[in-house]
Subunit: 359 residues, 2 copies
């Protein structure tokens, strides 16, 4: 039985993308592969609405590799950073800043809510130089307002790093208009390719910072990645197969009407599910939802038990939470090659569990 | 046309492995995936002939990620390292030691030769604490004697790090008998899976070092990787698909007679090719060959031109060299799902080029 996948990654790939995964992986130090990588860079920048002279690089690694690459390649001990910590990915940025000795102050949003203007107010003209935010805190399903944050950063001259790992393509995002300097994402979220590649879009200001900051980690060195990307290559053997799948997926999005169309499609699935789930004993625990995921608190059962029962008895993966939220929250994703019919199957499974007294 | 692939990675995968690449990638924070990862660890340790209490971890990244992880997690500024520098991968170890402020001395083997006993002699009882070697320097096709180096390290109490990226499975290797502390390899060499995963086998002594050395890079932190591996997991989203392919491949090797059988198979292909190539205007430029690859100097044409002609006119990839060797050396690999018939095709292409006066 093929499992139905409503997690937030790895997600379900389209047949076209899946098929490429079944091909032999080609040798890559060739002009042919360079052309693919140059197109990948162009299309990523286009879909992120990147400003003039922006660049994009592809790392073989998880989203955390891109988060750490952003921190060590664009910030130094002379920076003073603001970081939104609203869950486990916010905490990861905090940990990275601490590990690499970059001074920072945390902003802790209210539970279930995005960062509010009043929470930014105290940090005006206080010598801050940088701002880091997981624009969609995937662990809690809270989407922050990228325009609010972008305006604050522009007005105060802050260097803005946006982790859009689970938000890119799912939610509206405009790198140029919000003056972001770094936006990062991964292959296994709304790009709906296998995991293994993370991507950073870099403004001209980010590229300048990178060129002037000494290398801390060879594997995550963006100077080297940028230099190699000029000829459509990477410093080390990349996940060639995934990069070919990303290429096909970016072309697919372009062919099907562009990034707005893809965001609309994901939005429609999310809306449909959120409307239907009202009839069941669940509470949506975010007041600021991303289209990528719906975080649910089951009122009548353990969240982790529901995850296990759906997996073992219905052939359905939803996304469990870890740590303190393990029993109180699970998440249903809306990214990947999913259809309304797929949601009907999930909703029917939950209704069946209700009939059987499991929820 | 399907290209014939004689590079040293990514190499040709078997149909069984390729097919898995065409499946949907499953969600991985599950007991089912943990079981796969625990078996991956066991089989890797078995095939490396690892000593008691050794561990293995899987990083999502290239071989360089594993090289850097080894350097920063097991060595400190208080070490004094010997490093064999016989080509671009030796140079990479040297660069990593420099970047991370670990004192080192280079050993430069003679061109085309492995490290000799006389070259180790001067470093006895000189306060050295660690030894790093690319046991097969892939760039030049020179295989070093792991027994000679292992004995030297054991007698002098050195911590031994072996990069066996392109040598694992292709050449005899015995982690326990040579007292190696770290052995690293990658998914896309003789494991013949897509690129994206590198693997480190760690002796008990290596695990102790890792536990006591402060974290320098979150993404490459082996403390965290070891802790997560206890429950068959990884700290960050790994290349799940490649890890499933590695599992199938390790089981395939076990089923087909174990690592010795696989090494014999690769050896037979290498011997066949080396016997046949004598009839053509090429010189084998290594006196200490690995079974993984044959480095060739074409006496009558540019090596890079031969690479390009084989690619564009015959549908065959051989492995070009970079830098100073670009025009003088190319390499023919013997790893991956190759047959004697495949070598006949390559040899016939070269004979055809000879007839046409191209070589």
């Amino acid at each position: 039985m093929e499992m139905l996948n409503f997690t937030v990654g790895p997600v379900k790939s389209s047949d076209e993308i899946r098929k490429i995964g079944g091909n032999q992986v080609p040798y890559f130090r060739t002009p042919e592969f360079s052309d693919v990588m140059k197109e990948n860079e162009q299309l990523m920048l286009k879909f992120m609405k990147a400003p003039m002279n922006a660049r994009a690089v592809f790392l073989t690694g998880s989203g955390t590799a891109a988060m750490e690459a952003a921190v060590i390649n664009t910030l130094t001990e002379n920076d003073k950073a603001l970081v939104v910590n609203g869950g486990s990915f916010g905490q990861r940025f905090v940990d990275l800043l601490g590990l690499h000795h970059i001074p920072y102050t945390e902003i802790n949003p209210e539970s279930g809510k995005g960062v509010q203007a009043y929470q930014l107010e105290p940090f005006k003209k206080q010598g801050y130089t940088a701002f880091l935010v997981n624009i969609h805190e995937t662990s809690t399903g809270v989407l922050h307002d990228y325009r609010l944050i972008g305006d604050f950063c522009r007005e105060n001259g802050l260097f803005l790093i946006i982790d859009a790992i689970s938000s890119f393509l799912a939610d509206e995002l405009d790198m140029a208009s919000c003056h972001a300097d770094v936006i990062l994402t991964g292959s296994q979220k709304a790009l709906a390719c296998p995991p293994g590649v993370s991507i950073l879009a870099l403004s001209e200001r980010a590229v300048d910072r990178i060129k002037n900051i000494p290398t801390k980690c060879m594997y995550l060195d963006l100077k080297d990645a940028l230099k190699n990307a000029e000829r459509g290559q990477t410093p080390f053997t990349p996940a060639v197969g995934v990069l070919l799948q990303i290429n096909a997926r970016l072309r697919q999005i372009r062919r099907d009407g562009g990034v707005e169309k893809e965001t609309e499609r994901i939005h429609a699935l999310a809306q449909y599910f959120r409307e239907q789930i009202k009839k069941l004993p669940f509470e949506i625990v975010s007041e600021s939802l991303s289209n990528a995921v719906t975080p649910l608190h089951p009122k009548t059962a353990s969240a982790y038990d529901i995850f296990t029962i759906l997996k073992d008895e219905y052939g359905i993966w939803v996304c469990p939470n870890g740590g303190a939220m393990k029993d109180s929250v699970f998440r249903v994703g809306h990214i990947g090659d999913l259809s309304f019919k797929d949601y009907d199957k999930l909703l029917n499974a939950l209704k069946d569990m209700q009939r059987k007294g499991m929820i």
